[in-house]
């Protein structure tokens, strides 16, 4: 059965019969986040031109008759955006959390390391040459771009001897070179093409529909599997490669796999929505503030936080009725940055109090 116990650091945990245990704070945080996600989704369902919401949505299942406009709004526009937004936020946050463990630096993020830029540039080049490319080709291009950058970074950083700071610095350098290449394209392509590219770079959930969800769903389940498998290895990585090896982690095999995992997640997100900068740092940090966790719990909490942030950003985008555009990237920044600052502040206070 489930027994309540105490872990070595004095915090409460729950022990299950087959040896599985989970910290109570993590469990509470996880359930809280999941509930927040559902509530946010319900709220988000009613934002938009058409006056409809959760009650209408539920009525569909009972067989009630709704006007075409309402059904369209709920089923074709809002629900896919919420679902895709959540999955994309989950993916990017997960990618960031994995990278942070691998690089042993809390500033690791697929955008900061250039993976997003690599995917972006590959997609841009593809769309310039073949504007009507099918989504699968675009996704492949994104993954190829991300992998190229990952390979470049690995080659530049050398073996496992580098400090976390050096990896981040190298990532920033690579990212800047790549984004200046992107700027070159935006600056010197004809105005219409340049505008289309800028629109895409700002991030948008416009393309969210059920076929995209169907395409993303396998990746989502894969990520769940990945969390189960990789989650256990990550705390070992937090201690450094040599310690990880000493603890029995097959570093040479699992490190590339983890990197591949992170790259594929970030590339898929970029394909669906465009680049979401900094989310890979924001989400794990905010999640860590809610409940400091390691391993699988950390991954799950980060993913939930990432999903919530993106859905919240999308709600803000759709709800704000100003003439000024509020693309997804901007609303994510508007929501995420203050939260991040608050989280940092409270974390600092907490540390101060506990001394």
């Amino acid at each position: 059965m489930i027994r309540r116990g105490t872990a070595t650091d004095g915090l409460g945990i729950l022990r299950f019969k087959n040896g599985f245990q989970i910290k109570i704070s993590n469990l509470v945080a996880g359930l809280g986040l999941a509930m927040a996600a559902v509530l946010l989704a319900v709220y988000s369902l009613q934002i938009g031109l058409t006056k409809t919401g959760i009650s209408d949505f539920l009525a569909i299942f009972v067989g009630a008759e709704l006007s075409d406009a309402k059904v369209y709004a709920l089923i074709d526009v809002r629900l896919p955006r919420i679902l895709v937004g959540f999955m994309v936020g989950w993916a990017v946050a997960l990618s960031g959390a994995v990278l942070q463990s691998l690089a042993r630096n809390p500033l690791a993020d697929p955008g900061l390391f250039g993976f997003s830029q690599g995917s972006m540039i590959m997609i841009m080049l593809l769309l310039i040459v073949v504007p009507l490319a099918p989504k699968s080709l675009v996704a492949l291009a994104a993954v190829a771009g991300g992998l190229c950058v990952a390979g470049l970074l690995l080659w530049l950083v050398g073996g496992g001897r580098s400090s976390g700071l050096a990896i981040v610095l190298m990532g920033i350098a690579v990212e800047t070179v790549l984004s200046s290449f992107g700027t070159l394209l935006i600056l010197y392509l004809p105005p219409e093409t340049s505008l289309a590219l800028s629109e895409w770079l700002a991030g948008s959930l416009f393309q969210a529909n059920w076929s995209l969800i169907a395409a993303f769903l396998p990746l989502f389940f894969l990520s769940l599997a990945g969390i189960l498998i990789a989650g256990r290895a990550l705390p070992a990585y937090d201690l450094g490669n040599e310690m990880a090896m000493a603890l029995g982690e097959p570093v040479a095999r699992s490190q590339p796999m983890l990197l591949l995992f992170a790259v594929v997640l970030s590339a898929a997100a970029v394909t669906a929505v465009g680049p979401l900068m900094f989310l890979g740092i924001l989400a794990p940090h905010i999640a860590a503030f809610l409940s400091p966790a390691t391993g699988r719990a950390r991954l799950v909490l980060s993913g939930l936080t990432g999903g919530i942030l993106v859905v919240a950003a999308d709600t803000l985008t759709r709800g704000v009725a100003v003439g000024l555009p509020m693309p997804l990237g901007l609303s994510l920044t508007i929501i995420g940055v203050p939260l991040f600052i608050i989280a940092l502040r409270l974390q600092a206070l907490r540390k101060f109090q506990s001394h």
Partner: protein, 321 residues
Amino acid sequence: MRHLVFSFIAAMLVTGPVWADERLVSDDTGREVLVPRQPDRVVVMHEPLLGLPLMDLGIEITGSYGRADDGSFVIAVDFIDTVLGEGRPKPRGFGPFGQPDLEKLRALEPDLIVATELDAGKLDQLATVAPVYLQNVSSAKVHGIEIQDDLAALVGLTEVFNSRKATYLERVSSLRETLPANSAGLTYLPVFLTDQLNVVGDASGMVQALEDLGFIRLNVDDTSKLAAGGGSMMLMPLSAEAFGRLNPDLLVLLNSYTEDDRGETGTRAKLDRIVPGWQQFMKPNLENRILFVDPAKVITPTLASANHMLDAFESWTLKSR
């Protein structure tokens, strides 16, 4: 037998409306689209390049991407006013750039959506509202007012377009007679002034008018791999030094939209900042071969813009007598 006739008539009645109202066309990217024969609620995804040509032909556009919900515009230049004259009803918007709102779009009840080939990513979602026709607009693929020609064919107004084009061509030939006899092969160079010198692309009424008058685009550099705007993928600004050394037979200067004064004085002042000394040393200026044009009037790929260009050309030839 009666049943057969009856079911045949029934079948005709059912499929009849499809035949009468819609037809299958192949858009510029090769997609097969079922469009209405006479669309009257058209929504465009790029107003200057797609909306203006249609409005010029007489169709009122229902919706346009980038406008505010009530049809007002936050940006500096409203091409409908400058090209077609004030007082035309404006299309309504469904979201600022970067954030098209599907629900608002659907509320407009369009029966045809015209988009550019660069909107291919939005295609799936747009198609849930109305049939989507993708039109090529990049400089490399279309020239002059081909866009208006294509769109006229799409909405069944080819006759209107052709008759107006005939009138326009008559005007062109009468203007050509005022040019000197050996005017074949004269070169022109259209330059848009921001804080640098940008050679203008190909798809506009201005280019159509100039080339119909017999001018040829000046090739800025034979050895460069990048063509001077026409037909190329990348458009880089022209170096101010190289510009001063150029000598097209007709230099066309357009001042940027951030300037309120887009007439001759404003344009001259702007160019003074970019290429100081051009007034003293550039041959086209010394020999009065410069045409100052307001881009807001001539830059759209429409017959209206081409006619505005002819107006400017006409007044310039009259002035230089």
